[in-house]
Amino acid sequence: MISAAASASSSSATHGVRRCFLDSTMELRWVTRRSRSRNPKVEIPMLPGPPSIPICISAKSSHADPRSVRDLFVDCDLSCHRFPKLGHDGRVVVEGDFLEKLGIALANSSVVVSVFCRPEDLVSGDSEAEVVNGRELGFGRLMSRVAPSVGPGNGKLIGFGRAVSDLGLTASIYDVMVTPRLRGMGIGKMVVKRLIRILTSKDIYDIAALCSESQRPFFQACGFCDDVLCSTTMMYTRRGSLDTSEDQLVKHAGRKLLLVPLPTLKR
């Protein structure tokens, strides 16, 4: 077992060396930091971090606690709004009703995938020494190496993704994110693959993901590409203004102020 662990961390090309089913919706996986990306377009941030850590990936929606998900949004500087309001520091402004709306969004997402790691793995630790000097491992540390305890109860949410589907024809993937320190280890890809696996098991094959220019290489690496039917992605962005002479209704959506169409009158 020690030699297996040693080979897991020294090999830079493999992910998820060992897989254990904790129950039918949770899995324990090992992720390894790659020294360089296979895809030249994907940049891996060279943040300090552990070379190989155990994570728990779960598709149980009750494991995605809205507070933890909100904290992850803040860590990643992301928002559920496509055009979020930015503060003076350039970071996303977290709106007052975000937690409540997030709870609703999670409850109404068809699939929710969460990834947890041990809190100690988030602190930059040097676990190389443990593995190389295998003989010096104590029994306790050996057990935590081969049978790590990581799960929603004792772990920190570090990866997330969700999908909304009509469970018949189509699905849309939203909010795939991984905490900045643990990027480049295949966690994001694992989340997307899990979402797809669950959707395709329900016979949904028309899976869309809206993404910005910078996120395109990631989704390309996950098997997404431009629509073969050449459809154009469009979003409602018609602007309203706050100072109106007529009875115009407007709604805030992040930093956008959208015009609400007037009710159609009978002709």
């Binding site: 709004h81 496509r82 018949g168 809206l210 992605t233 469009m234 979003m235 409602y236």
Partner: protein
């Protein structure tokens, strides 16, 4: 606007998405006999995680807590979304003594066979009826247009025909995607498609759902642009998954 009684499918549509999803095909871990237990043992990998194995067996005998139904936060908004909305869009008297009304309806029951026939009329490829039915049931908003012909001044001889449909999926809070907007070719050009989409947008925005997106075929990009949609706003594009075999 005439609020109608709740139709069964609209009763379901709010709850289905709000309920707890346990979508994986779960191998049952509740063996009722020793032979089943042996089968479960064979399936599970008894490796370094012996503790995990016993955990799973134990949880199989404990009352199944994984299939919990999580009630969605019930707010006034949730109540609103289940009401059926219906109003007359157009009304005209025809020379043969009949009146034709075009009725907009949201949240009502849609006959899958009628919808299939309408899709055929606009020339769309056929999709399995069961999938179509599931998609309708689980869509957040389904808006329809019906043409109702009756003798002027009476309710006799009423004929109701589906002539348009639009639906949107949503997470009820931030995102919505509009799929499948269609209008019977013989009724096109009268602003009916515009009315369908505008009413969808209006309902979504009134419920504070701000990210409204759709994937438009080439020939209808201009139609949506006139309704306030922007192509690839700020570089945001939709990508689709393609299985590699």
């Amino acid at each position: 606007m005439v609020p109608m009684a709740m139709a069964p499918s609209s009763l379901l549509s709010g709850r289905v998405l709000g309920g707890h999803f346990n979508l994986l095909n779960r191998t049952t871990l509740q063996p009722s006999s020793w032979s089943e237990l042996a089968a479960v043992r064979r399936q599970l990998k008894v490796g370094p995680l012996k503790a995990g194995f016993w955990e799973t067996i134990r949880s199989g005998f404990v009352k199944d807590e994984t299939a919990q139904i999580v009630d969605p936060p019930s707010t006034v908004g949730e109540e609103e979304e289940r009401l059926t909305e219906e109003f007359i869009l157009l009304e005209k008297a025809l020379p043969d003594g009949t009146t034709e009304q075009i009725i907009f309806s949201s949240g009502g029951v849609v006959d899958v066979y009628d919808l299939q026939a309408l899709c055929d009329k606009v020339g769309w490829p056929r999709r399995p009826l069961s999938k179509l039915a599931a998609a309708l049931k689980n869509s957040y908003l389904v808006a329809t247009l019906h043409s109702v012909c009756k003798l002027t001044g009476s309710d006799e001889g009423e004929q109701r025909k589906l002539i348009g449909m639009a639906r949107a999926t949503s997470d009820h809070a931030f995102n919505a995607t509009i799929w499948d907007v269609l209008v019977d070719p013989s009724y096109q050009g009268q602003g009916l498609g515009k009315a369908l989409v505008e009413n969808l947008i209006r309902t979504l925005l009134q419920r504070d759902i701000g990210n409204i997106s759709l994937f438009a075929d080439g020939q209808v990009v201009e139609f949506y642009r006139n309704l306030g949609f922007e192509a690839d706003p700020e570089g945001i594009k939709g990508m689709f998954w393609y299985p590699k075999f």
